[in-house]
Symmetry: C2
Subunit: 420 residues, 2 copies
C-alpha cells in the first residue's frame, strides 16, 4: 500500500486563525487514486519543526505533499528550507518567471516589484510544476525513493496543480490499488441504534470491506470502502454488500449516493420539472444559499423571501397581523402562512418556511432558545413540525436548514406523515 | 514555553470526508491561555498509527489533546487503546453512567441499549471529565510528566469540556506566558504590495513581536502577536506598534479589530440606528446568511429578497421588464433597480444587490463566468461596480458577498467614490 502524508505549513493554520480545507480535499483526491492516507499534519513557520516533520513523515510515507509557506511575504520560510533540505541552490526558473510577468502584465495589470520576481526562484534540485492560476510555482523533489511535492496554500492554485500535474504523475510513478467507496445518507435515527440494527451485517463484512459512520448535522452517512487490485471485482462485491445495507436501513434512507440533501432534492425537482422557493425567518437565507450552492439550481429554485422582521412577514408574505400578535412569529400558524405566502409571492410549486429562536438571546420559558417551527407544502397540503435544537447559534441554523430540507424531501416523496 | 499537540482520530477526518473544525478552535483557545502550538495531526482509526503518534507527540509536547474515536460504534478503537497505552483496565464510572442514563431518560426519551451503557466505561488510570452535553466522557491521563486529554469529536461536547474543565486545569497546572494578539482587516491591496509598504515597520519589530499575513477571501488580516511574561507591559508595547501599523495601512483598513466584515457593518448600523436589507440574485441568500449569522442582527437587518429568477426581480423588486430584456439580469441598470426595489419592498435605510454568473455554466463571450454587478445604496444615492471573479462557484459566491459587504462598508463610511 502506497502511503501519503500531507503537511500544512503556516502559523495561521496551526493556531487556528484560518480553517484548513486544502488537506481534506487533497486527501480525498489521493484516496480516489488508491493512495492510502497516513497522516495530516499542521506545523508552524518554524525551521526546525518543518525540518523534523519532513524527516519523520518520509520515514513512513512514500509521498509527502506540502502546502503553504510559499507566498511573497516575510513570514514564509519554506522555500529556503526545502532548498537546504534537498541540498540545492536557488535559481530563477524561466517558465515561472514568464508566468509571474504574464500575471502582472495581463491579468492584475499592476507593476511588479522585486518581491514578486523572487517567486520565480526555485531550488535547482526540483522539477518545477507551473502554476497556471497564481505566481508561486510548485516543486517536485525526490530523496531516498520518497516523493515530496510543495505547493502554494491558495486553494484553487493547489487544486490546479494537483489535478493537472501531481495526481497524474503519481499514478504513473506507482502501481496503486483500487479503492471503491459507496455511501448512503440516513436521517431520523441515532448512531448507536443504527449500529445495533446493522451489527450482524457489519460483523459479516469481508476483511477488505470497511464500514464507516459519518455523522453530519443530524444526519448520518454510511460509507462502505473496498480495497483490492481489480476495480471491476471490487465494484461487484461492493454492490452486493451495498444493496444489503440499503435494505437494512431503508426506513431511514434519504438517498443512496454520496450527495448532500440539497443535491438529492434538486434531482427530484428537476425530474418532476417543478419549482421551489423558501420563506426564511430564523435561517436568514441559509436554506436558499444551500440550494443555490448547487450549479444548475436556477432550473428549480425561483427565490426566497428572508422575512427577518415581522413587517416583512406581513407585507411580503401576507402573514396575518392577528396571527403574529396572538400566536407569535415562532408558531405553527405563522410558518404555515409563510408557506402560503411564499407559494403566491414566489409563484412556485412548493415552499419551505422556518421561524425560530437561534440564540444566544431571545428565548423565553414557553419558547426557549432552539425552538423552531418548520413548514413545507404546496397548494394542496402544508405540514408543520416543531423542533428543539440545543446547540450554538450557527449549529442551530444548520440543523434547522437540514431538517427543513429533509422534511421537504419526505413531502415530495409522499412520506410526509412520518414526521421526523 | 509549554507546547501542545492536538491529535484528531478518525478515518473520516483523515481522508477528508469530514472537515475538521475542532482542532482550529482548540488551538485558538490554547493560544489564548499562553500555550504554544507544536503540531496538529490527523490519524486514522488504526491501532499502531494512534499508538505511534502518542509516543511521538509526547516526546516534544507537554500537553497532548485528543479528539474523536469515542462514539458508540464499532469503528471506534480509541478507548481500549488508551486503556492499554496507560496500563489500566476498563471500569464503569458512576458519574458517567448517571449522565448516560439521564440523557436517555430525560432528554432523548429513548430506551438505552448495551452499546450506550458501554460509554460509561473508562480506564481506571484516568481522571474522568464529565460530559454535560453528550454521553461520552472525557479522560485526563498523566504519564512521564505529560498531560493527555481525550475528548469526544462532537464539537459542542468537546467545547464544553475544554471551557469548563480542561483549560482551567491546564492554567492551574503550568506557569504559562502571556500571549497578546492585535489584528486588523485590510481590503483592496495585494499581499506583496502591502508587505513592501510595511517592510521597514516589520523589520524594526522587536524579537518578541511577530507580524502575520492572513489572506481571507480577497481581504487580508494583519496580526501582531507579542509573547512575554507580563500581560500589561505586552499590551502597552503592542498598542504602540499596532497604532503605527494602523497609520501605515489606513488607506486600506476596514476595521482595527479581529472581526468579520459583517460584524463591522453590524456595529456601524447599530450605532446609527439604521436598517439594511439585501436583494440577491447570484449570491442566493448568502449575504443575508452572513449578516444573520451574527447574534443580534435583527436590530438592523430586516430581510432579503432572493430573486434567483427574473420573474421575482420584476414582481417583488419591481425591476423594469425592459431593462431585463435589453440590458440583461447581469447589468448595472438591473442591480441599481434591485437596490431601489429592495429599499421599498423591505422598507430599509440601505440595500445591497448582486447579480452575476457564478459558474460553471451560464457564461458568454460578453459576460464570462465570474462576471458580477454589485450595487449598494440608500434613497439618495446608489453606487454600482462590476467585478470579474475567476474561481469555482462557491468561491465566486463568497467573493461576491465579501466585496458587496465591503462596498457597503465604504458607502456607509462615506468612502464610496474610491470603488474597489
Amino acid at each position: 500500500m502506497i502511503q501519503a502524508s500531507i503537511i500544512t505549513i503556516g502559523d495561521e493554520l496551526l493556531i487556528g486563525q484560518v480553517i484548513d480545507t486544502n488537506s481534506a480535499w487533497m486527501a480525498q483526491e489521493l484516496n480516489k487514486i488508491g493512495v492510502w492516507m497516513k497522516r495530516r499534519i499542521a506545523v508552524g513557520d518554524t525551521w526546525t519543526e518543518i525540518w523534523n516533520v519532513l524527516d519523520e513523515e518520509s520515514s513512513g510515507a512514500e509521498i509527502i505533499l506540502i502546502t503553504g509557506g510559499l507566498g511573497p511575504t516575510a513570514d514564509d520560510i519554506t522555500k529556503p528550507l526545502l532548498c537546504e533540505y534537498f541540498g540545492g541552490k536557488l535559481i530563477v526558473d524561466d517558465g515561472a518567471l514568464a508566468n509571474v510577468k504574464n500575471i502582472f502584465q495581463n491579468i492584475l495589470k499592476r507593476p511588479m516589484i522585486e518581491r514578486n520576481l523572487k517567486q520565480a526562484e526555485v531550488p535547482d534540485v526540483c522539477t518545477v510544476i507551473q502554476n497556471r492560476r497564481g505566481t508561486a510555482p510548485g516543486m517536485w523533489f525526490e530523496k531516498n525513493g520518497r516523493i515530496f511535492v510543495s505547493m502554494p496554500g491558495v486553494p484553487n492554485e493547489m487544486k490546479g496543480m494537483m489535478t493537472n500535474d501531481v495526481l497524474p504523475a503519481l499514478q504513473k510513478r506507482f502501481v496503486l490499488p483500487s479503492i471503491v467507496h459507496k455511501t448512503l445518507l440516513v436521517a431520523g435515527i441515532g448512531e448507536s441504534f443504527l449500529a445495533e440494527h446493522i451489527n450482524a451485517f457489519e460483523t459479516a463484512l469481508p476483511h477488505h470491506i470497511k464500514l464507516a459512520y459519518l455523522p453530519n448535522y443530524g444526519m448520518l452517512r454510511l460509507r462502505l470502502t473496498a480495497t483490492g487490485s481489480n476495480e471491476k471485482i471490487l465494484n461487484d462485491e461492493l454492490t452486493i454488500q451495498f444493496n444489503d445495507l440499503k435494505n437494512l436501513v431503508s426506513e431511514w434512507m434519504v438517498i443512496d449516493e454520496d450527495v448532500t440533501i440539497q443535491e438529492a432534492i434538486g434531482k427530484m425537482l428537476k425530474q418532476k420539472n417543478q419549482t421551489i422557493g423558501t420563506a426564511e425567518s430564523c435561517t436568514g437565507g441559509y436554506i436558499a444559499h444551500l440550494i443555490t450552492s448547487i450549479a444548475g439550481s436556477s432550473d428549480y429554485f425561483k427565490g426566497s423571501i428572508v422575512s427577518y422582521s415581522n413587517e416583512i412577514k406581513e407585507n411580503v408574505l401576507h402573514v396575518n397581523e392577528e396571527t403574529l400578535s396572538s400566536n407569535g412569529a415562532v408558531s405553527e400558524e405563522t410558518v404555515k402562512q409563510m408557506v402560503q405566502g411564499a407559494l403566491i409571492t414566489l409563484n412556485t410549486d412548493y415552499a419551505i418556511a422556518t421561524s425560530g429562536i437561534m440564540g444566544p438571546g431571545g428565548g423565553s420559558e414557553a419558547k426557549p432558545v432552539g425552538t423552531v417551527w418548520i413548514a413545507v407544502g404546496n397548494r394542496e397540503k402544508i405540514i408543520a413540525l416543531k423542533f428543539w435544537f440545543r446547540f450554538d447559534r450557527m449549529r442551530n441554523i444548520e440543523l434547522t436548514a437540514t431538517n427543513a430540507l429533509n422534511m421537504f424531501r419526505k413531502f415530495i416523496s409522499g412520506k410526509h406523515d412520518s414526521g421526523n
